[in-house]
């Protein structure tokens, strides 16, 4: 069981980093809904501008559903439990800038395509992102997962800076992926 001093340390760290809401553990649709509602209530209580609330909420939903969808895609693999339990999302603000910062384990094999799509998205300006979004929205949906492959593009469109990500190799099988989005 955690010691009193560790709890205090965690709280100090949360405060230093400007974190308002954090969740670590298995992401489910209902957890995403509950956190989303809590986030919206928090931002409304702070009387943020409406489009600011809308963008933060949108990014939060896309980012967490991306992780959730990734977990679901691994449901029948041996790495499922390890991946599903590795997820964390934090929402905070530092010096007037809001951020949604998430992390999760991925299979090292999946690192390359993820890097490629993030790198590509980061080369595009807002108009190009809009064009890509509209083009991909017209393309066929993945019927099995319901995934549209639009999440990262939408996040990039609403973000105020390029997507800040890292992929750190843990071993041959797993890498840790983090994504920090400023808005």
């Amino acid at each position: 069981m955690m010691s009193n001093s560790n709890l205090f340390k965690i709280q100090s760290l949360l405060r230093e980093e400007g974190i308002h809401i954090s969740f670590s553990g298995r992401f489910t649709q209902s957890i995403i809904e509950e956190l989303g509602e809590a986030l919206k209530n928090y931002l409304e209580a702070e009387q943020r501008p409406k489009n600011n609330i809308f963008n933060i909420f949108s990014i939060f939903i896309e980012q967490t559903q991306n992780i959730r969808n990734y977990n679901v895609s691994k449901e029948n693999s041996q790495s499922y439990d390890k991946i599903a339990q590795s997820c964390i999302v934090t929402i905070g603000s530092l010096a007037e800038t809001n951020y949604i910062f998430s992390g999760n384990l991925i299979e090292t094999n999946d690192a390359r395509p993820l890097t490629d799509s993030l790198e590509h998205i980061n080369t595009l300006n807002k108009d190009e992102l809009k064009a890509l979004f509209k083009e991909k929205r017209k393309a066929a949906i993945n019927l099995e997962t319901g995934s549209a492959g639009l999440g990262l593009i939408d996040i990039a469109r609403k973000a105020s800076a390029p997507l800040d990500y890292s992929i750190t190799k843990i071993d041959d099988a797993f890498s840790y992926f983090t994504l920090k989005v400023l808005v």
Binding site: Q29, K50, I61, K130, G146, G151, K158
Partner: protein
């Protein structure tokens, strides 16, 4: 033809398809775990409805969606394509898209949905 109704949940909108009054209404937030699963029965209903619909009736479609995630957005686009097809086939439809006009992100999202459609469409202020 029978109507179609779904009550809203945290992540899915309320849906009312009323064939007697030629009224289609979707209201709420849309970010279910699997958007296609949620929208598939709506696609089927709409296809069936337009097959039977006579050209002299006017169909009113009201969308009032405060939040749409990307996979729902794709499904809504598929629904709008069906409306556009019906319009091009000579059916009479009007699409009212209600949003918060003070929220520029929401208005932009509405405009992007509607900009390629030729059927009569309006962006109007949502009343909460």
């Amino acid at each position: 033809m029978k109507g179609f109704m779904i009550e809203s949940s945290k992540s899915t909108p309320e849906v009312t398809f009323d064939p007697d009054n030629h009224f289609i209404y979707i209201k709420g937030q849309s970010y279910p775990e699997n958007a296609y699963k949620f929208y598939e029965p709506l696609f089927q209903w709409v296809d069936h409805y337009f097959e039977e619909l006579k050209n002299e009736f006017n169909v009113t479609i009201n969308f009032e969606l405060s939040y749409i995630n990307t996979s729902s957005s794709k499904c809504l686009m598929m629904l709008l394509d069906k409306f556009e097809e019906a319009h091009c086939a000579g059916k009479s439809l009007t699409l009212n898209w209600y949003c918060d006009l003070e929220n520029e992100s929401e208005v932009e999202c509405a405009e992007e949905f509607l900009e390629d459609l030729t059927l009569p469409k309006y962006i109007l202020q949502r009343v909460d």
